[in-house]
């Protein structure tokens, strides 16, 4: 296992990441297929929610991922901020759009479930509001990266913002315990074991693993894209420089 400093070399990183992506992408397809099969066809309908419960298998793992990716983003930012690790900065930058997409997916599927169950697309509830804020935090983080030309400076400033925004993560996690929420409390990761039937846990965990593997594949691919884009910028800059020298001479 190479240590993180060896991985700081983009060429070495590429050599490890590039062959891993097809495997991760293939695993995503298989896991997602199996997960969707169990969620949509091979799991019982809820005695109260009937078939609407199947939205949960898309919604709950997306919400888990929204929190996980922000935590991952903050940790990568911390590694980049403290050890000046350039690939950690790239990882943090490329995590943000994927995390924002998971957050949006959780919000949209939650709204689709909320309409038949609660009678409203949206309620201003602690859990829903704090996840919406998480979405805006992702947008702010992406905006900071886009605003600065100097990548090193953008990385440091975006990292500082991610540390400040991390305050929201425990608020989201515990919002259902701290406030009287319409949203149901944690029913899988809780003291005394899950309160969900095993027949419903299978599709839930399959979907969660599928999302995680998808995240790994998408992150590695976008990191490779970003590294290629930066190399292109450097080459173009070098070309204009030599070009102007030729004109002067």
């Amino acid at each position: 296992m190479p240590n993180i400093y060896e991985l700081a070399n983009p060429v070495r990183f590429e050599r490890l990441a590039r062959p891993a992506i097809p495997w991760l992408a293939g695993a995503t397809v298989i896991l997602l297929g199996a997960g969707l099969y169990f969620s949509l066809f091979n799991s019982p309908a809820d005695y109260q929610q009937s078939d609407s419960v199947r939205i949960m298998y898309v919604h709950v793992p997306a919400a888990w991922m929204a929190l996980f990716t922000y935590t991952f983003l903050t940790m990568a930012s911390a590694i980049g901020f403290v050890w000046k690790h350039p690939l950690a900065d790239v990882a943090a930058k490329e995590t943000a759009p994927i995390g924002a997409a998971f957050t949006l997916l959780a919000l949209l599927t939650g709204a689709l479930w909320g309409k038949p169950m609660w009678g409203a697309w949206w309620v201003w509830d602690a859990r829903l509001t704090s996840v919406l804020i998480l979405f805006f935090l992702y947008l702010g983080y992406i905006a900071v990266w886009r605003a600065f030309d100097d990548k090193a400076r953008a990385a440091r400033l975006a990292a500082i913002l991610s540390f400040v925004g991390f305050v929201n993560i425990p608020i989201i996690k515990f919002s259902v315990d701290w406030w009287n929420s319409l949203h149901q409390p944690a029913s899988v990761f809780r003291k005394g074991g899950p309160s969900i039937d095993p027949s419903m846990l299978t599709p839930l965990f399959l979907m969660a693993i599928a999302y995680t593997v998808f995240f790994a594949a998408a992150l590695l691919q976008s990191m490779l894209n970003e590294l290629a884009a930066r190399r292109l910028t450097r080459l173009e800059a070098a070309e204009t420089k030599t070009g102007s020298v030729l004109v002067e001479s």
Binding site: I133, F136, G140, A143, V144, A147, F148, L157, F163, G165
Partner: protein, 222 residues
């Protein structure tokens, strides 16, 4: 301590003398309140009912538009480089900048609130909780806002970016502040708990926002 008061005094002079922007936020506050009242129409009971949350949200918006000023002028005339290079504790300097911003923007907004509350027919019992919650909450807005200003100081124009960064961070203060103002008016027991959480948010901001501001200033000026 002397550095702290020196920066606060200097910023206050700059804000209140000719060319200072201190009254702009208050004017904006008044205009937005009037726009809201006009948009809602002459439904006095409705306006009176939503007056507290409306004043809270508009005070927040007025703070928002003034944030870009905090470090901008100092950056342009070079004094920010001197302040950062010479201050022994940059964190204390960041506290001073946020305090000066609150004194020149937050406090005038609070002073203007009763007059605007009359326009909105706020009931008599609601003035106290509203002013109290604003007094506790707006310093938190200045502290968090100063962080966003520090984060974007090296950009030529940043007011829109500041709004995007800072709005999600303002949300707890808005919820607890507006919640305390509304609960206090109705004699709701949730008044105290909202006020406590509001105070906690401001204190939390007082600890972490200056640290983050100092780190952001250093990253912006190297």
């Amino acid at each position: 301590m002397r550095a702290l008061s020196a920066i606060i005094l200097r910023d206050l002079k700059l804000a209140f003398r000719a060319g200072g922007g201190s009254m702009q936020a208050v004017s904006f506050f008044a205009i937005v309140i009037v726009l809201f009242a006009l948009a809602i129409g002459p439904d006095i009971p409705l306006i009176s009912k939503i007056a507290s949350p409306l004043l809270w949200a508009c005070a927040l918006l007025s703070t928002l538009i003034s944030l870009d000023q905090i470090y901008r002028a100092d950056r342009e005339d070079g004094s920010l480089d001197v302040i950062v290079a010479t201050s022994e504790e940059l964190v204390v300097t960041c506290v001073a900048k946020a305090a000066a911003h609150w004194l020149s923007t937050g406090l005038p907004l609070i002073l203007a609130t009763p007059a605007l509350a009359i326009l909105l027919n706020l009931e008599a019992g609601a003035y106290g909780p509203l002013i109290l919650s604003l007094l506790i909450g707006t310093p938190g807005l200045s502290l968090i806002g100063a962080f966003a200003a520090a984060l974007t100081v090296s950009l030529p124009r940043a007011s829109l970016l500041i709004s995007i960064i800072v709005s999600p961070l303002f949300v707890p203060i808005l919820i607890f502040g507006s919640g305390a103002a509304t609960a206090g008016a109705g004699g709701d027991p949730q008044f105290m708990s909202n006020l406590m959480l509001l105070g906690a948010s401001t204190l939390f901001a007082a600890i972490f926002a200056p640290l983050a501001s100092a780190a952001a200033l250093r990253s912006n000026l190297d």
